[in-house]
Symmetry: none
Subunit: 427 residues, 2 copies
Amino acid sequence: MIERAAILSTGDEITTGKVVDSNSNYLADKLVEAGIDVAAVLTVGDVPERITWAWQQAMEKADVIISTGGIGPTADDLTTELVAKLAGVELFFSEEVANNIRRLFASLNRTMPENNLKQARFPKGAEIIVNHLGTAPGYRLDLDTPHGKKHLIVLPGVPREMKPMMEETVLPWLRQMRGGGEVFLTRAFQTFGISESGLDEAVAGTVADHEGRLAFRASFPQISLKVTVRGKPNEVEARLEELSNRIRSRVGSYVYGEGDVTMEDVVGTLLKQHGKTVAFAESCSGGLVSHRLTNVPGSSAYFHGSVLAYADAAKINLLGVKPETIKLHGSVSEETAREMATGVRERLGTNIGVAVTGIAGPGGGTPEKPVGTAFLALAADGVLVARKYQLWGNRDWIKTLAAQLALDWVRRSLLGIPIAESGFIRR
Amino acid sequence: MIERAAILSTGDEITTGKVVDSNSNYLADKLVEAGIDVAAVLTVGDVPERITWAWQQAMEKADVIISTGGIGPTADDLTTELVAKLAGVELFFSEEVANNIRRLFASLNRTMPENNLKQARFPKGAEIIVNHLGTAPGYRLDLDTPHGKKHLIVLPGVPREMKPMMEETVLPWLRQMRGGGEVFLTRAFQTFGISESGLDEAVAGTVADHEGRLAFRASFPQISLKVTVRGKPNEVEARLEELSNRIRSRVGSYVYGEGDVTMEDVVGTLLKQHGKTVAFAESCSGGLVSHRLTNVPGSSAYFHGSVLAYADAAKINLLGVKPETIKLHGSVSEETAREMATGVRERLGTNIGVAVTGIAGPGGGTPEKPVGTAFLALAADGVLVARKYQLWGNRDWIKTLAAQLALDWVRRSLLGIPIAESGFIRR
């Protein structure tokens, strides 16, 4: 039975500090959720001796080893060769996988470099783990060793490929191997507008250790609060529901969604449900609001378009903002925001029009309007709301906060909850 | 002499996935900067055997070990006791540090819990590293071991305390220890439009093992190729230059930048240098082109704005696309793309106008125009280029590719290299 895991991540980009190893964090979270203890996380660069050392150590400390990275097509991708050597097995060539790779390249009208076929080689006895999003499949190799049965799981390092493989193939297998009759249920609450410590305070004491486990994950600008319960199948669901109710009652309207949803998912779903359409007039958010909403499949049903009015001329010519308004109040002002919102709503013929104008910095700030000053406005049937915000952080943060606010304004207007109460500014 | 480091991070919060271990990333980056090779990063929870195991492994692999976490006042902070045991030395109590801790609590009008004095104990022989921002000082312990001289550096886990200690005390010491021996130099080439394996083939044989190391890192849609040289200070620079020239001659126009630059940085710099302005007409890219370009500080100098024309009405009303054009050829067509590009250029009065229209999917595909079909057009003084692309992957990928192409088209037009050769289709 599997009780203990080790996580390996391979890649010079990690040991040289070029990227943060977020895969290990994701894997540790999933493993603990599945009731498996993570004995160690080992990270090494693309150096054969070091990779071999890491696998040896991991196999001494754990029953299951999950490795990410090192299975690309290039010369510095060494994991598979080294794993086979460690396991003392040959490599075999999978015609089926090779054909998939060929097909993938063909479908892109691209000639496949021969070295891509490297990704069709696996240690003898390996169970292949399908990768729907890339050329590198993963695999699982079960070994009998002096230290007992070991399960070696090799996954690609690209998170968008690795995560679905983990969730569709590896986790179900792990839960089954974990056995013990216990099941795990988890639910995530997505929040916006409350700080991590504020959230921590809000839920303090809601969940006792024997009832479940709370974990926070801040991924700016939202913070997710995840509750995990573990126990007998016949009672975990009721307990999760009970704990969820307690959490909802404490965190209230800061929760914009439950489960693995983004603010744009929620807004898209609401727009569809209410049969409403939306358009944006963006300045300081620079297109991020529209980019996020158009990430939602099917958004063309409710999103007509946007005007990115960076220059004043664009605000005047494309949105019909009055030159006097800009002269009198400035392009970053409540008045301009109102005219941008009504203007884009009219011109694109939508139910809702939202405008964002502000100073993203680093330049452009003044004593009266420092960097981070932003105005939002929302125009809808018989509604015209506007509000000033003082956002913070670098350019990137200010764009991100402005975009999140604009989407939260749409959410609130559709739910009929006070629009301008969105945000954290009174923190 | 110090050449090789290991990074340890201790804490259940990391091995249970509650927090991402950003300290290790920070430390790896600083160490590599200082010319020190990071042999491994080891992460374990607050379990004595595991912490001891990690230190033993680290001392076998490295000359200097930098540990973060595990020196708080609570019972599960075990690092100092375990390090002393490993080193075979007693703990000593520093009255001076104890008084600092007492003073710190006094200055906050807080009574000091007795267990805080735990933080005044250090392994005999340890050199204390002052912590100006918290109660836990760090320390360095130099040991003679069977594996040679080892330097054990223990720092707190709180980033805002750890980082200044690293920068004020540890790094200067490390650089000095590093001495006039070997140094590392590295340069990254950012490429777009060539696959990782294609890149691998292109540079195959350009760099011999004794000359330097090549590493690829795919962060969709670009791939960076990093060359690292190591040697005597007086010759590494010339060698890096020489290798860089070889690489440039092999990879050519696929390289859009060198160092830590993004496509939007490069495009922004070029627009400024050439004193040109740009506007975009986006459909399937959904605002991502504009979002990326406006991530560049100061982009308002050359970016006037964009029109996100998702609905046909938007293409007609805001960009002046002829209704017949859409009726005849469809909104996803070369003709529509051309009119969108010229339209946005006129309306926003810019030197360059770029249009992207396509089918991002998952819906909307047809046999003639499957998901991923995209048309780009660029209008400039006396120039009107358009081309069809067949993009791939999920909605997210298609948006990303379309946006990268649009930016690369601007780059190519400013550099006077063939615009429509951008992209990977001919590989």
